[in-house]
């Protein structure tokens, strides 16, 4: 440590040791760590340190700060407590704020809300790698080479054509079915980052999040699927939410089901947000395609299942009224320091 800083450290450690009361300690804390205290004064002097020594000086200063603050903390547990209002202390420089509260990211919040719904129905929360093979991302999901559905997903390759970043959470489904084919029935939900070669703008990102749920059991029906999805919508958006379930194509399911939520902005009348459709597409789902089950070694004559996936970002944005998808992974997403 810088010699001068070492000297300061020893001086203050000695002072902290000799403190007897809380008021004395608070005075000393302000002298060391207060807004105009010694530490901040030293930080403001960094600009005068030669550039080649600046990094080391910063590290030393942080070490000094850490040691003194830790010492202050441990000392505070051993001195008698007095309330400021009863003291005659000149309380200059005292800083008061409400307790700093931590926050979960909105994506995590939505994910947990969904997980809670599914846990109650007996689902596990699964996960799998983000770097995947073509086999698990496409082939096992009934998307062979040159299938037009591959155009729907412009992949980011690590080593073309074999390794890529997963383009959808259905890839987690492929891993799940392969790994648990002998442990049926399965109920699992999972969220994850997915990657596609999209230009970043207000509506699209090359990294986005999806949520998916998968069931494989005997006698699973579309009624189970639609009822479960509706439960999920109501949990997230309230009982008044209006959702329609329509025919939709995804290669990994048959029949396919597309849930659309009535636009929360225009209530179905049509507006720029819903592209004048009155409805917002909320994901894709359907009965797991027999070829997908077969690829995992599961007999589709015995077992059936459903899967649904949704854009977690869009769900979160709708719930939190966030207008720009970039906000979710950027420094303009923030939380009020004291607001839960």
């Amino acid at each position: 440590m810088d010699q001068n800083l070492e000297k300061i450290k020893l001086e203050y450690l000695s002072k902290i040791n000799s403190v007897k009361t809380a008021t004395e300690l608070e005075s000393l804390r302000i002298e060391i760590s207060g807004r105009n205290g010694k530490i901040n004064q030293l930080f403001s002097e960094i600009k005068n340190v030669p550039p080649e020594n600046r990094k080391q000086f910063g590290a030393d200063l942080n070490q000094l700060k850490t040691e003194l603050e830790k010492k202050l903390l441990s000392k505070s547990k051993n001195v008698s407590k007095e309330k400021i209002r009863n003291s005659t202390l000149d309380i200059r420089n005292s800083t008061f704020s409400l307790k700093k509260v931590g926050h979960l990211h909105p994506i995590t919040q939505t994910e947990r809300q969904l997980n809670e719904v599914f846990r109650k129905l007996g689902f596990s929360v699964y996960s799998s790698p983000e770097i995947v093979t073509d086999e698990f991302n496409f082939e096992r999901l009934n998307v062979p080479q040159d299938h037009p559905a591959r155009d729907m997903q412009d992949s980011i390759y690590i080593k073309e054509p074999e390794y890529l970043l997963r383009t959808q959470t259905s890839t987690i489904e492929s891993y799940l079915l392969a790994q648990k084919a002998k442990e049926l029935p399965i109920r699992a939900a999972f969220a994850g980052a997915t990657f596609r070669n999209e230009k970043v703008n207000r509506s699209n990102h090359f990294v986005f999040h999806q949520y998916q749920a998968v069931v494989v059991d005997k006698n699973i029906t579309m009624k189970d699927l639609i009822g479960t999805m509706d439960l999920m919508f109501k949990t997230l958006y309230g009982d008044d939410v209006v959702v329609r379930y329509r025919c939709k194509y995804y290669p990994e399911v048959e029949p396919g089901v597309g849930p659309d939520m009535q636009c929360f902005n225009c209530h179905g009348k049509g507006c720029p947000l819903c592209k004048y459709a009155g409805w917002i597409e909320m994901g894709g789902s359907g009965m797991i395609h027999p070829k997908v089950l077969q690829a995992a070694g599961i007999d589709p004559n015995i077992w059936s299942g459903f899967a649904f996936g949704m854009g977690l970002d869009r769900w979160t944005m709708a719930q939190k009224n966030i207008k720009d998808i970039r906000t979710l992974m950027g420094g303009n997403l923030a939380y009020k320091p004291n607001e839960k």
Partner: protein
Amino acid sequence: MKLIYSELKKFLPDLNVKPQQLRDDLTMIGHFTNYFEEIDGEIVFDLDIKVNRGDCLGYYGLAKDLAVLYDIPLKNLSVETHHDASLTTLPITVTTDKVKRIMALKISDLKNSTSPNWLQKFIKLHGTKPINTLVDLTNYIMYLYGIPVHAFDTAKSTDNLIWEINSHFDKFTTLDGTKFSLNKNILMVNNSQKALSLSFWGGEACAIENTTTDTIIEIAVYDRATVRQNSRWLKATTEAGIRLEKDLDPDLIPEALNHLVKLILENCGGQINSQLFDYYPQKVQLPQIELNLDKPSQVSGINIPKDFIIDCLTKLGCTFLTNIQHPASNILITPPTTRKDITQMEDLVEEVVRFWGYNKIPTNQPLAKKDVADITPPENYLIDQLKDKLVQLGYDEVLTWPLVTESINPKTVIKTQNSINSEAIYLRQSLIPSLQQQLDQYSRYKLTNCQFFEIGKVFSKEGDKYIEKNSLCISSYQNWKLMDDVEKIFNKKFSIFNSEKYLNQLFVEIILDDLPKPEKYIPQTTVNTAYELTSQIITLDANITLDKQEEPETLINKYSDIIGNQYLWEIVITDIYHDTKTDKFRYTFRVSYFNTDDKTAKELHLKSFGLK
């Protein structure tokens, strides 16, 4: 795809539903219809057609679906063309197996000119520029039947057309003047002298003009993968290409060609001047699918009568290979040739259910609870547990891009091959640089006193193996707190990283994979508000003097309420001074405002503290 209501009614004369109803019905049976609008006196719908329904990239395919849905007749607009066997045979050669079917015919002595108004209007409503009658009619037929059509000016192309994988022409210019270098093996129509046309884009060398009098019109279906590959190589997308990349029906070509011939003769005059050329080396083999008549009910979970199933499949054009008067539980079916998407029983089930109505499936009967084996990986429990602990300790969770601009260790970094974002090409090896970037952004918004964390994957390469690990990174401006918190959570110390850029901010990064995991952990489901900052935080100070000392927390709450939630970010008392001479107390407030401008913030600030 655009769909003009009045044109659709030509196929469905009995269609009589309001546009809004038609929009919703099309969507429910799988043809998502964004909106409809009135343009130039016509109701025009905007649809997204599913990638497996190439047949619906034309009015005819959609009309077939609607005829089943509304139980109304479908009108055939085509008229059988009379072919004269005494006419000459076209000297067309096909040297590639990428052609599934070509039908071609020569028409001579026609008078081409500007298109009639109805045709121009149709073409414009589909977002295309009218050229002349002959060209516009080829496009009209493409939009009606979903199969691209091409016309060659035989004065330029000659009749000697060759379908081949190009090997000798190195340049090609399209109808609109776009130039391509043909450095790959592209499926083309050429003659011995010139490159004439791509499979999905006509060429300038044989373009139809107003002066054209003799033409060969052709409709072809190709190996879709070849067309898709060619358009990708050339980075070219056309309406024809979009259709030819799908599984189109070669058996629809005669109907489309007959309709086209009828329209050309009506609008341009002329006469048929060749025998019909029909190259169809391998007829479509239709699948035979066994359908259990109980299956639609079993899959949907609701009762769908067998009579409805038979009726629906009949209207769709399926052929029954077993007696349907007294059907057994299983029947054998061949789907219509247009429906390339129907290949197995589940496809037939979807057909039945979508016409029975997805909206008849109840929405209030979710899956019943069932105890099945918990297969949650233990690291998921650890991650949830850590997030909760950190939030309780006052840290905010952030998410950053897993793709980053710089590598830390070039030997082990994983690089993407084709990331569209040319800056973010590496998979991150550590979360620390990402959190430093987060601080950069916070600085821009003048957010101070940041303490936050991220749990995410970090990546590396060992030989041919790609390694992914779960990592936790925490950053704080309070050194002692960070160290204390980390020790509290993990019962051990970890190295602290000093940022060169943010000297007063520390980071700690911990790889989670090797840490002990909880057997089970059910996380808290909390809902808190996150804000999208649109402008910098504005910080203003205010002094107020009170006759008696007040609890700082009481004052903070009081002024928070006065300022209101809309613009208040944070309020802090930075100084309390007791003037012993006057026995008065001076409180200094520091208030941060968000998502507002300087002027509004200042006005609100002065008003709230009674300083105005």
